[in-house]
């Protein structure tokens, strides 16, 4: 039964042979939004997507505890059966108000939000146009949808326009899917241009703001707000497991009939709903995201500091300053050694190898949090600098520039 995974297993064994298994890290204890212990040693967490640092926010924790006491540990049912509580509906209203949308639907994970939204919106006879660097949940949602799927070149509005033109004679709705911030390199979509193409073609537009909610835009609504094109975005998808520090996902829209997805979208209907604790902490998280713009400012400042520190140390970086900072590695072996040595220095990052990365090139991926202090960032920059120097892998600037040019 599992024989087909032989090559995958050998691949994984090779990745783990150089030290620790990068995909099997289990922290002993998590001390805060920025620190954990691993094998009894303190490590700085520099790859958590915990953008606003809300995982230990006192109000969020207190709300989760109170909700558990009052409503129990789980709902034991789906949203269309016994799993919808007042809290779920209140959270949807709160989220819609924050996003300035007519309605919002909550899913049990961010992954399911993409699955449920894409499968609910697009069916046989429709067309999905996905950015080539889309997250796995978008690709999987597209498969579940049964629509005809077309990939367009990453962040390339002209390629999207050409594809919509070729498809213009075919019937069916066309839904363009992009992400606010792409998780691997941290680059953003050229949303104004994409919105213009979408409008010309009479297509629909979905933006996954998983990494940009609470991060971009003056009020934290994401890239569409920052670019001033929210009116062109028909569907906003996002997650509670990054800036909001919990788990779950959502889709929001202004379409009046949007609610029909509640009885049409299988990933919404056939899974248990979020537990009361999560619903409560996410609602408080939205309050914090709304009331404390300084968290967003700190996050941006920390992103700039890490980017500037690494650039000054001579590293070639994947994208401009932002919450995600990725180092392109010359090859997989170097990437694995870099990741292990950095962990030995006390800094946890994400190792990205294989097809999840743009062009299949290995990356050392980091994400910052508003909760990181200047001292912690300086510690990280120094450690990364030492490892980079030891491995002679500060990113060959010419190679990296060529890779960026090739990707564009």
């Amino acid at each position: 039964m599992l024989a087909k995974y032989r090559a995958l297993r050998e691949d994984h064994a090779a990745v783990s042979a150089a030290g620790r298994d990068p995909f099997g890290v289990a922290f002993d204890t998590v001390l805060s939004a920025t620190e954990a212990t691993l094998d009894g040693r303190r490590v700085l967490l520099l790859g958590t997507n915990n953008y606003l640092g809300l995982t230990f926010d006192r109000d969020c924790v207190a709300a989760a505890v109170a909700a558990t006491e009052a409503e129990g540990t789980g709902t034991t049912g789906s949203r269309i059966a016994n799993g919808s509580y007042g809290g779920h509906e209140a959270l949807e209203k709160r989220l819609a108000r924050f996003l300035r949308r007519r309605g919002a639907m909550v899913f049990s994970t961010g992954y399911q939000a993409n699955l449920g939204t894409l499968a609910g919106l697009a069916g046989r006879g429709d067309h999905l146009l996905l950015d080539a660097d889309s997250h796995a949940s978008i690709y999987d949602g597209a498969r579940l949808a049964g629509a005809q799927v077309t990939r367009f070149r990453h962040n390339d509005p002209d390629d999207l326009r050409r594809r919509l033109r070729v498809l213009s004679s075919q019937p069916g709705d066309k839904l363009v899917v992009v992400e606010g911030i792409y998780s691997m390199l941290g680059d953003t979509a050229p949303l104004r241009e994409i919105a213009a193409v979408k409008r010309e073609a009479g297509a629909w537009l979905l933006v996954d703001e998983a990494h940009s909610l609470g991060v971009l835009g003056a009020e934290g609504r994401g890239l569409a707000e920052a670019e001033g094109v929210e009116a062109e975005v028909d569907f906003v998808v996002g997650t509670f497991s990054k800036s909001l520090g919990a788990v779950g996902g959502f889709c929001a829209s202004d379409l009046p009939d949007f609610d029909v997805l509640r009885i049409a979208s299988r990933p919404y209907m056939f899974t248990a709903s979020l537990p009361p604790s999560v619903v409560a902490s996410v609602a408080r998280g939205i309050d914090a995201m709304d009331a404390r713009p300084e968290l967003r400012a700190r996050l941006a400042e920390n992103g700039r500091a890490l980017h500037a520190g690494l650039a000054a140390a001579g590293f070639a970086l994947g994208a401009g300053p932002g919450p995600i900072v990725s180092l392109r590695m010359p090859d997989r072996e170097t990437a694995i050694r870099f990741w292990n040595l950095l962990l030995a220095e006390g800094v946890y990052t994400n190792l990205a190898v294989g097809t999840a990365t743009p062009g299949g090139k290995p990356l050392l991926r980091m994400s910052v949090s508003a909760a990181l202090t200047a001292e912690q960032l300086a510690f990280a920059v120094a450690a990364i600098g030492r490892v980079g120097a030891a491995l002679g892998a500060r990113g060959d600037n010419d190679t990296a520039a060529a890779a960026v040019a090739a990707a564009e």
């Binding site: 080539a132 597209a142 005809q148 077309t150 990939r151 070729v166 498809l167 097809t355 299949g360």
Partner: protein
Amino acid sequence: MADEQKTLRQVVEALGSVAKVPGPVTMGTHILHDLNLDSVAVMDLVMLLEERFDTVIPMDRLAEIETVGDLVRLLSRAGSGAAGG
């Protein structure tokens, strides 16, 4: 047939620009096994061909493509327009 030969030449040319091709390429060449392309390189190749042929190859059609010949026949059928229908 003449069209297929012309398309084959264009595919071989595109192949050369996305990867180092180890030997002569024929209609029977298996894309993954014989050419040593990984899935990322295959997607790059497909995107380049879609552009050059001004067509769109939907992702579900890619599963049926194993040999260079499969790709050539799909592109020849497509001409200019969507290869999906």
